[in-house]
């Protein structure tokens, strides 16, 4: 399970909890974490968040599955985050 502080965003703690519950491993019902976000931000926000999480489950697999390179225009951000995108294992 990932660790770290919740982001300084509205409903940050609830967004982290839902992402980690739904997005770690296999698709499974994140009932408790979904309800926390519904209670905090409303059902529309929770549904929207689930859509974003689901689509990045797709994009992560598509990009890793084809051996996609990091787009050159994002290289400066990668360097800032501490890794060289030209030396990722692939």
């Amino acid at each position: 399970m990932a660790t770290g502080a919740a982001p300084d965003l509205p409903f940050g703690a609830e967004l982290v909890a839902l992402t980690d519950a739904l997005g770690s491993g296999a698709p499974s019902d994140p009932a408790a974490e979904r309800q926390r976000l519904v209670d905090a931000a409303g059902p529309e926000a929770a549904e929207r968040a689930i859509g974003v999480i689901a689509t990045f489950q797709m994009m992560n697999r598509a990009l890793d599955g084809v051996g996609a390179p990091v787009n050159p225009h994002l290289h400066p951000f990668a360097i800032e985050l501490g890794f060289d995108p030209n030396h990722l294992p692939r």
């Binding site: 992402t19 980690d20 491993g25 994140p30 689509t55 990045f56 992560n60 990009l63 599955g65």
Partner: protein, 207 residues
């Protein structure tokens, strides 16, 4: 579809999900509907806890299994080994597309607390065979049209690329708004990008 969801789907996302499921379970470019259904079964088996690929599905089953649960662990030599054992790059690309979009469908359905979608009857129409004639292997392990980046990585098989974008936009943001940091719908762009980056972090995806 999703009639038992705890949280009701947005109508646009439900429509995109329905189109994605219809496309996933229909005959493809390289694969028959029977073969695509098997890819779906093998990916779901991996998610359900199968530690090894289904031996009855051969190399295609290995690809489906590892794309489902360990895409970040794939390497150029693994895909080359698949090819050496009979899974060519075009069929491999279609499997990546199927498992990826299936992930969008199944994670969304699970997230809403609904029952997983059941496979329909098999359509025995032959695969289309429609490849982009300009596609070659350049900056990836699979054929691409030019030096391709997301969300065009499947475009050597045009129907697969179009299907990816067709679900990607309603689930994430319209492509014209990706760079708009001030976008707000029911979430802010900062919240949306946090969800995206956290998901990628969990999957160890750097792209």
């Amino acid at each position: 579809m999703l009639v038992d969801a705890v949280l009701p789907p947005d109508p646009q996302r439900l429509a995109a999900l329905t189109r994605a499921w219809d496309q996933l379970t229909a005959p493809g470019v390289e694969l028959t509907a029977t073969e695509r259904h098997q890819v779906i079964k093998d990916a779901r088996a991996a998610w359900a806890g199968a530690s090894q690929p289904n031996p009855a599905s051969g190399v295609a089953g290995e690809a489906a299994h590892w794309v489902a649960i360990d895409a970040e662990g794939l390497r150029a030599e693994v895909v080359a080994d698949f090819e050496a054992r009979g899974l060519d790059r075009w069929r491999y690309l279609e499997i990546v597309g199927i498992v990826s979009r299936l992930a969008n469908v199944d994670f969304y359905v699970a997230g809403l607390g609904a029952t997983m979608l059941a496979l329909p009857a098999v359509d025995h129409t032959p695969p289309t065979g429609r490849r982009d004639p300009a596609a070659v292997i350049s900056n990836m392990w699979v054929p691409t049209v030019g030096r391709s980046f997301a969300p065009h990585v499947l475009d050597a098989l045009p129907a697969e690329g179009e299907a990816l974008r067709d679900i990607h936009e309603p689930m994430y943001v319209n492509f014209g708004s990706i760079g708009d940091g001030h976008l707000v719908d029911v979430l802010t762009k900062s919240q949306i990008e946090f969800l995206a980056s956290r998901s990628s972090y969990l999957n160890e995806c750097f792209y």
